[in-house]
Subunit: 225 residues, 2 copies
Amino acid sequence: MSRLTLPPQATQVGLAVDVAAFAMHGGELRVLLVQRGALPHARDWALPGGFVYPGEELHEAALRELRTETTVQLEPRHLEQFYTFGEVNRDPRGRIVSVAHLAVLPHGTVHVTAGGHTLGAEWLSAHQPPALAFDHHAILDKAIGRLQLRLEYGNLAMEFLPDTFTLPELQGVYEAVLNRRLDKRNFRKRLLSQGILTPSGERRTGVGRPAQLYRRAKHARIAAL
Amino acid sequence: MSRLTLPPQATQVGLAVDVAAFAMHGGELRVLLVQRGALPHARDWALPGGFVYPGEELHEAALRELRTETTVQLEPRHLEQFYTFGEVNRDPRGRIVSVAHLAVLPHGTVHVTAGGHTLGAEWLSAHQPPALAFDHHAILDKAIGRLQLRLEYGNLAMEFLPDTFTLPELQGVYEAVLNRRLDKRNFRKRLLSQGILTPSGERRTGVGRPAQLYRRAKHARIAAL
DNA sequence: CCAAAAGTGTTGCACCTACACCCATGA
DNA sequence: TCATGGGTGTAGGTGCAACACTTTTGG
């Protein structure tokens, strides 16, 4: 295939990724936010993100930002591009187009510390976030919408939990993401009838009757769209 | 808000849009394709698309490409960004990121002629397209998937038809987009029970019993996602 | 034995599928 | 009157929502 050059009318823009990374903490859906260390919007909260390197794929950039802007060690269990924000004036520095990604991290990834050039990184409430820089509020909104879609039509909820988990824990994920209460009996019937859970041993909690532990069945894939 | 400049690490890439524009023709779902007039992929079929102008919004660029690469006069009834294709080597000219859009044009927009720098423009079968340039096959696939989603969970089908239409015509749209036959009685029950159709006068066709005409009800909006 | 959380069934309703015949019109 | 396409109803199955009590464990 011939090597050609970009035609003159090709608009050059800054290409960035932003990542809305979700995890459960304290029975609540949290999103990973960083406190910006540089202008514009210094000291404001923002989604982790930044410019894509030359020769770097979009999803690689998303992973890199997640690992350098914060100190998240674990791999995301799910990473998905969901929308591209390209409004002309969304960034005061010039035309910057951001391909927004949705990530889900398993339980146990709640310890983050500042990395890279950010002042801090924290898991904050996804449903009541603080004020955010740029158009990150719109990005977060759309990310939550996509996440809810993937819960109801995919099997994304298990990615929030460790390898083995109980049904009440799984229900807790659903309730936190959907932001409403669910009926215990109906929830169990629905999940168990899907055949995507395999029982293992028992588990004793501090208090109350012990719950059955499950792991995800061998099949059980996440819906495409 | 302070005016700042792009930081040095900002990768500059070519920003493009591609449009998968659909319409009904000959009882079949068609997609608008252009025959490229320039390298790379000269003479190959491709989705209409091109570079975004500086200061131009993404959806404006999509509309402009639709109107200059081809001679489509009517406004699309629906225009929606659905995915961004940014693989490093998707275009031999360099790093070009394309924000792909889905458009639906009403009946009556089937006359297209070449415009701009293309050799030709035609409505071709969306389900059996010819070989396409670049990664446009993947773009078309994803566009059809999104279109099917919008049919089943939104009310997008009416946008393919003139202001007034019959139920058999509407069913034809569903069948063409979903690429399978539907039961006439079940289809009517479902659509009429949604209350998104308003009857108007009768209509006589050349042959057979005349069909009732409908128009879209005042409410009846398209689902977000 | 008490507190706490896990676990369990039934019923009504809404929706979907499968399926075959009559009706209105123009030629 | 015939060919053509429009229009209609029922019955079975499936999935979802509502709803309250019993079981198992640790303290």
